[in-house]
Subunit: 240 residues, 2 copies
């Protein structure tokens, strides 16, 4: 640690945290997990779940642990990817805190339970975020906004939409993911055609599922491909 000395005036120790923007679909709405902060600063304010990275812990492991501690969610089944680092000097009143934001997606997840630092945890509809009175703690509004944009873009050129579905799913369910996340209607027929001919996106399980009414739907599971080529572009309001 010798060569740190000459920086003693300019370099400072930092604390590193992880924050999670975790999304799921509940009754055809895109929901994000928020907590009500149980400690200062921003006590009582809504925030993304997160907390300090611990000794010897990878960033990813820290994200998984915080999700479990603050909301009782086992993220091992989730899609989890890093979003980026947020390190504005004054983003945390307690000192220099750099946070690594993670993006998580999962199928219809259980109601979360509050944890140690979180008074309570709950699913909140993304569509209601703009409502005044909903000011998130720290710079979490920025993080959440970036996370949303990332999800919407990733639906286009990766198979990440399947992370919102169960192990097997119908094409209608998959299309609903796109419709809800993009907030636009897609033509069922054209959507089916594109998805099926996109190599490695989905593969039929051979089984079926009965809808409440109507013809049985074939079930699919994720294919091997992660990157979609060609991608499913959301053009300007079209239908597939």
């Amino acid at each position: 640690m010798d060569d740190w000395l000459k920086y003693s005036e300019e370099v400072e120790a930092s604390w590193v945290t992880v924050d999670l923007a975790i999304f799921t679909l509940r009754d055809d709405q895109l929901m994000v997990l928020l907590i009500e902060r149980g400690v200062e600063p921003f006590l009582g304010r809504p925030a993304l779940p997160g907390g300090y990275v611990q000794k010897g812990e990878t960033l990813r492991a820290g994200a998984l642990r915080e999700l479990w501690e603050e909301a009782g969610i086992d993220a091992s089944r989730l899609h989890l990817e890093q979003l980026g680092a947020y390190g504005e000097p004054r983003r945390d009143p307690r000192g220099r805190v750099v946070t690594i934001a993670y993006l998580a997606l999962g199928p219809d997840l259980p109601a979360p339970v509050g944890g140690t630092d979180a008074e309570r945890a709950y699913w909140f509809p993304v569509s209601q975020l703009h409502k005044q009175s909903y000011e998130l703690a720290f710079d979490h509004a920025d993080i959440l906004s970036d996370a949303l944009e990332e999800v919407r873009r990733k639906l286009e050129y990766t198979a990440v939409a399947t992370a919102f579905c169960g192990k097997s799913f119908t094409l209608t369910e998959l299309r609903t993911v796109y419709e809800v996340v993009w907030g636009q209607h897609l033509d069922p027929s054209n959507f089916r055609r594109k998805v099926i001919k996109t190599a490695g996106f989905v593969q039929p399980t051979g089984e079926q599922r009965l809808p409440p009414t109507g013809r049985p739907a074939a079930l699919y599971r994720r294919g091997e491909a992660w990157l979609l080529s060609p991608p499913l572009l959301r053009g300007g309001g079209q239908s597939a």
Copy 2:
């Protein structure tokens, strides 16, 4: 800082650094800026430029400052975007150091000059990186690999290729960027057609440039669009 106390056993102070993967094109080769480390650890080994973030400094400002200090490059004209955070517990032998990696792109840049912590700085051809004997310090090989993949993907759906060109450029120059970065030949005619009809990608300046021989080429500048729709996909080896 009160609530940090209860974590005293598990939470540790960290040092935050920035590292830069900066690319440019020099005589039709993709080059990355490397430095030879002038201090321990990894003294004498090649590495990405980078260093500690200072007090009150944003991460981005730290990246710009390090680039100037270690290679004498003024990055204010460059395209600079965050790549992600790398925080494996043992990635730095000196202790817990989390680095925020930045990706920078610029037009044919001047030969860099060595700085304080860098014995020397130099442009290195990306194509030569796999060569054994070229083992970068820390986890910089991972960062560089991620940066390369990011550049290649971003060429597809953003106008970032223009960052490799000067203020005005010919379509042949722009095409060369794609060809060098993707390592694949593109049909000049089809490339022209796509670029021109992609709204907001480029706009003609009205001026021309005389090539060493042949018909004058029209000059273009960047358009207003950042996201390309439709994107320029690199399919499977085709021509536009």
